[in-house]
Amino acid sequence: MAYTEDRVSVRDGMFNVTVRHGGSGEPLVFLHGAGGQAAWDPFMDLLAERYTVYSPVSPGWPGSEGIDHIDDVVDMALFYLDLFDTLGLRGVHLLGSSLGGMFAAEIASLGREYVRKLVLCEPAGIWLDEHPYLDFYAAGQDQLQKALFHDPEAMAARMPRPDPEDKEAQAKMTLDRQMALASASKFTWPIWDKGLKRRIHRINAPTLIVWGENDGLIPPVYAAAFQKLIPGSKVAIIPETAHVPMVERPDEFVRVVREFLEG
């Protein structure tokens, strides 16, 4: 499906960010996880059949600048409120995955009027000592693939890979990944808990918590922890997926999300 990619300047050029958008209908914003968002994904197409989907790239991730003006997760949430103002967005359906879920929960806590419905997909931001996350940074590639995907081999086959002969593309991929995870470290190091528990009580948007049943990065037990912190929220566990159900099973993910948004 067609989408448009814009460069958006926020706060007089303090931030310059990439925003991809497509479809029509009520506004829906998707916030990516620590790895960044390099493309318009199939699940976005599916959502765009019914919504105007916005997929911004956070400052500091490849495609967007301005991380030096963001010290902590509250600064990041306020950046997003500024971006929504710039784009003229109010009352959005806000989806966030992983670190993006942590940002989405902060945005819904601090800017209630901007968020109509909230979908937290395997959100980070709450920490239980008895259920540590996988050490995302120290883990090797194989270990990480197993944590992120229910079926790592099938996913590897679907993932676009640069030509191994194209050294420049290979180097860019490595550098992009390094810069993405470097920026993520501001909100995740050494523990993915930067005080959301002190603000999360303010969320008043209807909330759905989505988790892949085999998530090996943030254990699915956190679904119940979030549900307890957000009274009235619902939980949906998506089978045969792990940390990124929207990527691994886009049809099922979109069905679950639409049922919540349209129900």
């Binding site: 940074y137 120290a138 090797g140 420049e168 810069m179 470290s185 050494p190």
Partner: protein, 413 residues
């Protein structure tokens, strides 16, 4: 040339099958492997070895800082330096150093270094390393992306605290203090010499050149890598229009002397293997973190290596695959008769432009007896034949102790 004795203070009794049973000598090595009674013995042995080096005329004694590991048992180098300040007489106390981004507020470093400088009568060299990713990010929880910024802010605060004559307010991003007022002040004026160890980031080199500090290359990977690093460093020195004074560069070098080449191998090769096989057995996932290296450093690394992707399976650094002969050829170890060692060290220092040679005379599980003998042989038969090197240059990066008549009677017993 100045010649120093540098001690890593390793844990000498890791199990034979350490590599099979554990994944890393750093960060998640179980502390139950540490035997405090043995620790008592080796801390005292190691300090004896450095004190002996002082008595035999080495210019300086060097210690550094590492955390959560069995590679070097010095989480607090200032404690070692405090002990050495009282039990050495002439040697410079080269503390390499304090990882200044780890201390909150960093004025703690300004205070402790000033205490060491005053107690020792002006013999302190103040080392300001960034610290490894293991030490700073994993062991001390610093955010990788902001570590360098925090380091630079800490540096600026410490230097101002040492040099400004009146209390001042400091409104930093990482430290806010309404009153910065360090007592005692350092003895050396305007402040102790600053050495910056480590790092292969181009920004660090440029900064060290701009500040006119000493750059200390602490690698143990031999002369080829040292040649690349120091070659680039001197190119920046030249580009900045500064003189290529060799005293602006320090380098570590493992060094083992014996009566013959074969005796050197016999005496030292087991301990050297222990060091490279076990003490450098570092899980790669801990050795680097996205954000720890600057963007430029990563880009240059990628360009140099000529490949794009990180290894898919995390491996270990170090690796024990090299033989004694290969290590000697590569230069990660300089060993042999006093004449061979002298010749090799002169050649290397002359070629690389090293004015401060920091010799590692104990490695791995080398016994005190063998280490003391090594120190004595170097002091008697090597050191005197290195001193004349670089005599045409002035050393502006060395300590300026109090003159003898002003030294306290109890100091340096």
């Amino acid at each position: 040339m100045k010649v120093h004795s540098f001690h890593l203070m390793p844990y000498p009794n890791l199990p034979e099958d350490f590599r099979e049973r554990y994944r890393s000598v750093y960060i998640d090595i179980p502390s139950e492997l540490y035997d405090p009674a043995l620790g008592h013995q080796v801390y005292n042995d190691y300090l004896d070895e450095l004190e002996y080096a002082d008595r035999l005329g080495f210019d300086g004694v060097c210690v550094n800082e590492h955390h959560s590991n069995a590679y070097g048992l010095v989480p607090s180098p200032n404690l070692m330096a405090a002990s050495l300040a009282r039990r050495t007489r002439n040697a410079g106390l080269v503390v390499l150093g304090n990882s200044i981004a780890l201390y909150n507020p960093p004025t703690r470093v300004a205070e402790e270094f000033a205490m060491l400088d005053v107690i020792s009568g002006g013999r302190l060299v103040a080392g300001f390393p960034l610290g490894t990713a293991m030490d700073t990010n994993y062991a001390y929880g610093q955010v990788p992306l902001t570590l360098r910024d925090k380091y630079h802010e800490a540096h600026d605060l410490i230097l101002r605290a040492w040099t400004e004559p009146e209390p001042f307010a400091f409104n930093g991003k990482y430290t806010q203090l309404r009153y910065v007022n360090v007592w005692p002040r350092p003895l050396q004026k305007p402040h102790p010499p600053v050495w910056v160890p480590g790092g292969s980031s181009p920004e660090t080199w440029e900064w060290v050149v701009e500040k006119d500090y000493l750059y200390a290359h602490l690698s143990l990977s031999g002369h080829a890598s040292a040649r690349r690093t120091l070659g680039r460093y001197y190119a920046l020195v030249e580009a900045a229009g500064k003189e290529p004074n060799p005293y602006r560069v320090g380098m570590t070098q493992a060094c083992f002397v014996a009566g013959s080449e074969s005796e050197a191998e016999e005496l030292y090769s087991e301990a050297v293997s222990y060091f490279f096989d076990k003490c450098l057995y570092i899980y790669r996932g801990f050795a680097d973190v996205p954000g720890y290296r600057s963007r430029r450093a990563i880009e240059e690394g990628l360009a140099q290596q000529g490949f794009g992707l990180q290894p898919q399976t995390p491996s270990r650094l170090g690796g024990g695959s090299l033989s004694w002969k290969e290590r000697v050829e590569q230069g990660s170890v300089v060993a042999g008769t006093p004449e061979q060692v002298t010749e090799r060290l002169r050649e290397v220092c002359r070629e690389l432009g090293v004015g401060h040679l920091m010799l590692l005379l104990q490695l791995g599980n080398l016994s005190k007896e063998r280490t003391m003998r090594n120190i004595r042989l170097v002091a008697e038969k090597v050191l005197p034949n290195l001193r004349d090197l670089w005599s045409e240059w002035e050393d502006r990066w060395w300590v300026r102790p109090l003159e003898a008549s002003l030294r306290a009677s109890g100091a340096g017993k």
